[in-house]
Symmetry: C2
Subunit: 273 residues, 2 copies
């Protein structure tokens, strides 16, 4: 295969459902010429509350499906999968696989001034302690404060973005992080960028929010550039969506995450992978 053919291969992105679309959207914004295959495991979402064993099995299947599409690079656009499964699964596949933890951790260490970083995410992500480890491996002096915010995912999926109830729940959740004087807060779940405004309001403007979707897209661009795998040749980029259950709900929610509707959604049985 020529290098040009390799460059034309798609970037594979997967998530437990719709959340990874915030990452896909950033990648499409930053690298509009790239072909993309997105898999949303809506039939088994959410991963966030499940065990390491089950998340690892699902992650392996998600990657196997993307490999079938001859992708050139894979993004695990799911914090839970990145946090608990990627370390185990990465060695099993002959392809570059990027999670969302490392880019977020890297950015947080770069941004903090007072060395006090907060992390919010699902129960699985927070329980895995992956962000804390990724941050402390970069700078052992940084103090990390982690907090699970389980209601943020259903709230965003229900369109409760700028409602009073969401503000009250955010105030409940985040007060422990305000008390410990962090200056940087990692939005450690791909749904959370949708709540940036309310989280920013609660935390105050002195706290810098790290959007792991943005940071991940930047890292993808760097990694592809470094491997000389950026797509150069002309022709419109193709973006394909696959889901593991009926696409109805995916279609409904997709607009909120991607900023536009889509119609090319294919359903498949992921348990066969």
């Amino acid at each position: 295969m020529s290098q040009d053919e390799t460059r034309n291969k798609p970037i594979g992105i997967f998530d437990s459902g719709v959340g990874g679309l915030t990452v896909a959207a950033e990648i499409m914004r930053l690298l509009p010429q790239e072909n993309i295959v997105y898999f949303g495991d809506v039939g088994r979402a959410p991963y966030g509350g499940r065990s390491k064993e089950i998340i690892t099995k699902f992650t392996r299947q998600d990657i196997s499906f993307l490999m079938e599409h001859k992708v050139k690079y894979i993004v695990a656009a799911c914090n839970s999968a990145s946090a608990v499964a990627l370390e185990t699964v990465r060695g099993e596949f002959d392809i570059g696989i990027l999670g969302v933890i490392e880019p977020g951790a890297e950015a947080a260490v770069k941004y903090t001034r007072n060395g006090r970083i907060g992390i919010i995410g699902t129960v699985a992500t927070i329980g895995s302690d992956s962000y804390a480890r990724a941050i402390q491996s970069r700078n052992g002096l940084v103090k990390v404060f982690s907090l699970a915010c389980p209601l943020f995912v259903p709230l965003t999926e229900e369109g409760y973005i700028e409602k009073e109830a969401t503000l009250l729940i955010a105030q409940d959740y985040l007060k422990t992080l305000i008390d410990v004087d962090i200056d940087t807060l990692v939005l450690g779940c791909t749904h959370y960028p949708l709540l940036k405004k309310v989280i920013g309001k609660v935390m105050g403007e002195k706290v810098r929010l790290v959007d792991s979707a943005e940071e991940t897209a930047r890292t993808v661009a760097e990694a592809l550039a470094e491997k000389d795998l950026l797509r150069i040749s002309g022709g419109e980029a193709s973006v394909k969506f696959y889901v593991s259950d009926v696409p109805d709900r995916f279609s409904q929610v997709v607009k909120q995450f991607l900023g536009r509707g889509i119609n090319n959604i294919t359903r498949l049985d992921i348990t066969r992978y």
Copy 2:
């Protein structure tokens, strides 16, 4: 097998997760002498947002697992499974299987004075229109108003029972039902009895709430009495819990639903059934 041996066999109860525990709790209260096997499919919860096809497959596996435990009667303590899968699956097994729709519908028709009944539940339950059909087959003149309230499940599981945020969300959701002047409201999801107080506050005291957990327990007692299957013989009743993922979270949430903690929880791989 003697009739006494048959009577000693357990009642099997299943749900997508913890919600069915409200039904189990009512059955244990009403029939304290009965042996019980409970299966909570926490590894694949929630069912509420999934397709009919997937919910049907899961329901079949849940029942197969309970059949292995030589149960005498099965309760589908899950509105989503009852609403979309039970009709299909019931004929495949040689045992009495009760869902939570029929008892709730029966009670609502009995209670309403003005013939205007509201139903609240998950997206799957409401989308299936099962309550409306069950009610209208009993009384074709009754008007049914259905409403999905997807945030109620995560709110109860997060312990947001009597919080201001929950009240605001309940006011948001329920205002359309207040506008149409219902006098009876079916809590068509096994989690919702935990929100009785806040739902009652929003709807006002003139609206009667139908707790399908209570109604289902009553129907189980009647069905077992009719079949002469009520356990009579002495000895303490045995209650066993099985789940499809690590029991940690199940243990945490169970107290809220059952009113007491439990320790005999066994994990199994439900996909093998």
